[in-house]
Amino acid sequence: MSWYEQFLVAGTVVPLIGFAFLVFFGHRLGKPLSGWFTVLVMGTSCVLATCVLFSWHGLSPADRAELTAAAVSNQFYWADMGSVPIKIGVKLDSLTVIMFFMVTFIATWIFVFSVGYMAGHSDEIDGQSKYHRFFTYLCMFAFSMLGLVISSNLLFLFIFWELVGLCSYLLIGFYFDKKFASNAAMKAFITNRVGDFGFLFGLMMVFFFLGTLDLDQAAANFRQQYASSTGLFAIGYSIDLFGWQVSGMTLATLMGVGLFCGAMGKSAQFPLHVWLPDAMAGPTPVSALIHAATMVAAGVYLVARIFRLLTPDAQMVVAVIGCITLTMTALIAIVQTDIKKVLAYSTLSQLGYMIFGLGVGAWTAALFHLMTHAFFKAMMFLGSGQVIEGCHHEQEITKMGGLHKKMPVTCWTFFIGVLAIAGTGIPWTGPGIGGFYSKDEILAAALMRTDHWPPEAEHHAKAAPSDEELESGLSYRLASDSPEHGATDTSAGHDSQPKSEQAHGPSELDHAAAHHVDQAALVARATDSEHPTSPLPKWLFWFPIAIAYVTPFYMMRLWWLTFMGKPRDQHVYDHAHESKLMYVPLVALAVGTFFCSYWVFRPLLADAASAATDATMVVAIDGHAHDADHAVGLMLHHDVHRDLVPIVGFAFLIGFGVAWAIYRNGLELATRISSMPGIAFMHRALRERLYIDQVYDFVLVMGCRGFSRLCSVFDAWVVDMVALLCAALVRRIAAFSGWVLDARGVDGVVNGVASLTKYAGNAVRQPQTGRVRNYVLFAAGSAAVVLLLILAGSGAWSAVVGWIGL
């Protein structure tokens, strides 16, 4: 094991130890101490992660590839499934390293924040302090999340996936004395389970069709099957699924969609998005850590990890779901008045962007957005926590206003967040912040997929940007401004590719195309109805663009209503205060927001894109993707980002401006606008979250409970009944004899049989009258009947024999 792995494992295990310690000794440590203990634990992890990150950053791609390969051989033999061994290990690559760092860094500061947040009465449930329990859960969460990040195996990814879900459940329901909190927790878990159902389904398909649950191995097998037209992609391969003949390609799509379902649950994508706004019932640090920065991003992470298993169709599903989510939730965010709800819906919308980005193939950009978003959204949530705690648990922004005087640090760090999420930057030249790079890159990729796809043949000749340029997002951005520069050094681009086997994918594929791919495979691919690189429908581009205008609007609205203007509720305003323990993390995260926008992350992600490079059928159009050469080359050549500027370059200004105009003087104007006919209807629909929750509640929850009650009644009255026939028989006999069955008589199978027996018992005892003459008559009569039978049988023994039929 290289020390990288050891550090990562140690960083993961330390929170687990912390958890175990707190479970047993948490109540002894007491109120502030157990919180600080947790910070210490998390800080240790963070230090380890930092070491790994910077050291990793300093490595050459070749060394990284070597380490990645080495990590595979250090796997632990966990179990067999049938005869397939399941091994677990650390997935050591750039994505893991930065995700790991991101999680530990943000978690550490949020833990610090929590110590402050929980210092008051926030740790009380129905009057009892549950301080250490909160931090116990946080430790558990940190462990699960880090485990999820380093898992090399889909099964283990799933296990940690569920564990973070559990922690989320416990933390959302932390104030479980409140009905809405426990409801929200349940909703979160069950909604996630619905997604996990799909995940499980995908997992099964991966296991069955690709014969492994290891991420890399699965991708390799997928690729191999595609190349050699075996397995899933064998010609004419189809299976019977609920009566439909499903072809191999469709199965592959289903597999991808199934896995994506998991992501839909965790990242709260439509139609499983309903749990996330409700999840704000948890303590605010939890909302920041789990429901903004880390756990909800796990879905995106998952899609990134399984990217190589997607088919074009599956990718399209991902894009469409992302697009729907980002649009719908951004619209809902406009009308929310609860500070955390607004942030929650904005989180949903941003997650939608990420998913959408993966759907359109912007692998690096989506993950980059994940990173930046994690920092600024965590920061904003903490800011809101500060506000809420300061205002004595007042969450309505309609009652706030003018808080910038009382909480300046919060106000301005929050403003940085607003700028970041809005994608503020100087068009054409930069520099910008946060979303300016990450979100716009997603939009750029989308634009390219809609407008400039498929790329013309001559772009194949174009080269990738040089290694140094890729090292930083900034230089990349600059490079994109000067296409000629990037095109100069073709060979360098090739050499710079990581030497992992994945990275060699493209050349191998070319090789295979020349020598190995037999005719059958070509036929199979030719017959695929979808061209793997078909352009996107236009609306998939325009919705995200439109929302790029909406985002600054609602963020500005939130910020302005909270911090600017005049106080609308003097009582709340008077109480407002700021605590140092809580704004230090804000500042730290604000710094982090800047940091992550410029250095380390973007180039490492570009490097990590090797995880998507050998995607068999889908296209990653940025980074060192499958078609790295011409994808990036295309981007440079056309300079899509430059094309974007007229479309969204000033979106943040327009959004801010409109928001400022409406909310400058408080809520009057907004109220008037919202009560305008036509708008009022939409306003109400959006306030009610488009009634989706209500529909789910009615159809699914009530439906399920109703059905279950039906089943229960069925169980008590039907299954438990004598086979219906038997009961009917009993009743018939009873009616015949005038013997009325008591209620329990037909209660059940057993009861029915019992009654039948009882009845039969009564019946056969009827002759036992106690009168000997009857006895004699009966006995003699029986004998006589037999005698008559004998005589009737034509009077001959042989005839009797014949009668018996033997």
């Binding site: 033999y77 966990w78 179990a79 067999d80 499934m81 049938g82 005869s83 449930i125 129905d126 009892q128 099964l155 799933f158 296990i159 940690f160 996936w161 569920e162 564990l163 559990l166 459940y169 416990l170 329901g173 479980f176 004395d177 009905k179 426990s182 409801n183 927790a185 349940m186 878990f189 069950i190 389970r193 619905v194 996990d196 159902f197 499980l200 389904f201 997992l203 099964m204 398909m205 296991f207 069955f208 299976i239 019977d240 699924l241 609920f242 399920c704 409970r705 059905f707 279950s708 009650r709 039906l710 089943c711 229960s712 009644v713 169980d715 299954v719 438990d720 059940g748 199978v749 057993v750």
Partner: protein, 567 residues
């Protein structure tokens, strides 16, 4: 290697029972706990072999078998006549070993759980209770180690009466109804088993005699024992499964019993017998009643061990001996399994009685066992077996958790609880662990079994076209399970502290002592399934599946040629 260790394990509880009968009342509980503990410790001695085991060479020298390495074998002729043999034949292999340990463990813990039974305050038949309790243990252990079908049957029935009384005397309000229901259901099942038992004996005799006649020999070689000749019918479960002549005769399309093809018919007789015990829908209705009325420790045993006997029966008898039957009925069994999963979960959701809910959840969980074995592949079998053990850990825990609050609140109406986590924080945490284990949360034991079963189903689709849809349907059960478990937790443990429960004492040392092993096992099994379980049982299960598969292939060929001959 002959060893009487298993006999000791099986009959130690009986010895304890006799001791309780003879010694003064004051010692009763001590003896009972001591006996179950001793049994547990002695059964742990088996680990010696199984930790060293997996060594086929050694197993070969021990037993020399094609299927199932048997350990600690003890075989003594019991009832013999002309060509007629019933043996006292005990042995343990990877299939029975985990269940044996589970039984001794659950019995020990539930014995401790019986320590402060509310009936003892009125001093109601303490002696009788523990005597029956220990006799029950003998019966259950016997079932798991008996390898002679006749002996198996005897043990199977022995455990009936003690269970009946344990429910019927110390149970709840409708205890008599529940007890007699349990009794009748089980007896009906065992009666069917008896038919199959005799059929199997005579047909094995026919097979052997035919083989002897056609070969002109005095006896045919045993299927798994070197240097042993078989000259007549047999009850030996391993012999029945491994002897080619017997298998051929059982599987032949021309072998009929009561006008039906023998293998599928005998299979279904056995199947119903075991499915009642499992229990599978629609033979499950005894279970909720029995559970609701039974006292807590007995519920623990019922859920933890008794239900496993059904699953064990499938794996030990139905499938190895009638692989063809398993193949013919696979679809039906899978459907029953899936229905059990979904139907059990839905019924559980609608319950307002805490125990009944847990009881229905058992139906749902055991449905996975059925589904797992129906596809007849390694993953499925492993999953089914794991699910049994996992359920044997999580469900006694859940029942004990119910018992703990029942002791305090004296009712089990879910809707009348609330906020118990606040009044009993330690207990609440254990409860969360227990119910999440039952929910099948990854990282806890319930998950492994479910996922293995589902994956096994997927794997089974090369053989059965319906396997994938079944798996998909079964997987929806995962959502339903989450639904009822979380709803339960919300209603009972979450929410505001209620006055009437505010004064409840938290889980005491004894209670934690019982919960802790279950909790720890739930976690350990979930994290390290291979090292805690699969290592011990996979050898046997894999061999068994190989055997089943090869037999089925063999039958296909055989019956094809039979059909071609115009049979």
């Amino acid at each position: 290697m002959e060893s009487s260790l298993l006999s000791w394990i099986v009959f130690l509880p009986s010895i304890g029972a006799v001791a309780i009968m003879l010694l003064p009342k004051a010692l009763t509980r001590v003896i009972a706990v001591g006996t179950t503990l001793t049994t547990l410790v002695v059964s742990l001695l088996l680990f010696r072999t199984f930790l060293a085991g997996g060594d086929p060479a050694q197993a070969e020298s021990v037993f020399g078998s094609g299927y199932g390495f048997l350990h600690y074998v003890q075989r003594i002729p019991w009832i013999t006549g002309e060509g007629f043999t019933i043996e006292y034949f005990l042995g343990v292999d990877g299939l029975s070993f985990p269940l044996l340990i589970l039984t001794t463990l659950v019995m020990f813990l539930s014995c401790v759980a019986s320590w402060n039974f509310s009936h003892w305050k009125v001093n109601k038949g303490r002696k009788a209770y523990f005597v029956l309790f220990l006799l029950l243990e003998t019966g259950m252990l016997g079932v798991f180690v008996a390898l002679d079908f006749f002996l198996f049957y005897i043990f199977w029935e022995i455990m009936l009466l003690p269970m009946y009384f344990l429910i019927g005397v110390w149970g709840g309000v409708r205890r008599e109804y529940a007890a007699i229901k349990f009794f009748l259901f089980t007896l009906a099942g065992s009666v069917l088993m008896l038919v199959a038992l005799l059929g199997m004996y005579f047909y094995s005799a026919d097979a052997v005699h035919q083989a002897m006649a056609s070969g002109g020999v005095e006896g045919i070689a045993s299927g798994y024992r070197p240097d042993v000749m078989i000259t007549g019918g047999t009850f030996d479960l391993i012999e029945l499964a491994t002897n080619q002549a017997i298998q051929d005769h059982f599987g032949a399309a021309s072998t009929m019993l009561m006008g039906f093809r023998f293998a599928p018919f005998a299979f279904i007789l056995l199947f119903i017998g075991f499915a009642i015990k499992l229990p599978a829908v629609p033979f499950h209705t005894w279970l909720p009643d029995a559970h609701v009325e039974a006292p807590t420790p007995i519920s623990m045993i019922l859920a933890g061990v008794l239900l496993k006997m059904g699953g064990y029966g499938f794996l030990r008898i139905c499938y190895p001996i009638f692989p063809g039957g398993g193949h013919d009925w696979a679809f039906v069994i899978a459907v029953i399994g899936v229905i059990s999963i979904l139907y059990g979960a839905l019924c559980a959701m609608a319950q307002t009685d805490f125990k009944k809910l847990v009881a229905y959840s058992s139906v749902s969980h055991m449905g996975f066992v059925l589904l797992g074995i129906s596809v007849m592949n390694k993953t499925g079998f492993q999953g089914a077996m794991f699910q049994m053990i996992a359920h044997g850990i999580s469900s006694p825990m859940c029942f004990f958790l119910v018992g703990v609050i029942y002791d305090r609140a004296h009712h089990r109406r879910i809707n009348d609880f609330g906020g118990l986590w606040l009044s009993m924080p330690k207990y609440g945490s254990w409860a969360t662990l227990g119910f999440f284990a039952s929910l099948g949360l990854p990282g806890l034991c319930g998950f492994i079994g479910e996922i293995y079963v589902l994956l096994g189903c997927f794997e089974g689709r090369s053989q059965f076209g319906w396997a994938v849809p079944m798996a998909v349907l079964a997987a929806t059960g995962v959502v339903l399970t989450a639904g009822y478990v979380l709803w339960l937790i919300q209603r009972v443990y979450l929410g505001k502290l209620r006055e009437e429960y505010a004064g409840f004492p938290d889980a005491g040392i004894r209670e934690v002592f019982i919960l802790a092993p279950f909790g720890v096992l739930a976690i350990v099994l979930g994290i390290l399934p291979k090292h805690t379980l699969f290592n011990f049982m996979n050898g046997t299960l894999d061999l068994m599946v190989d055997h089943i598969v090869s037999m089925n292939r063999h039958f296909d060929l055989m019956n094809q040629s039979y059909a071609m001959l115009g049979g």
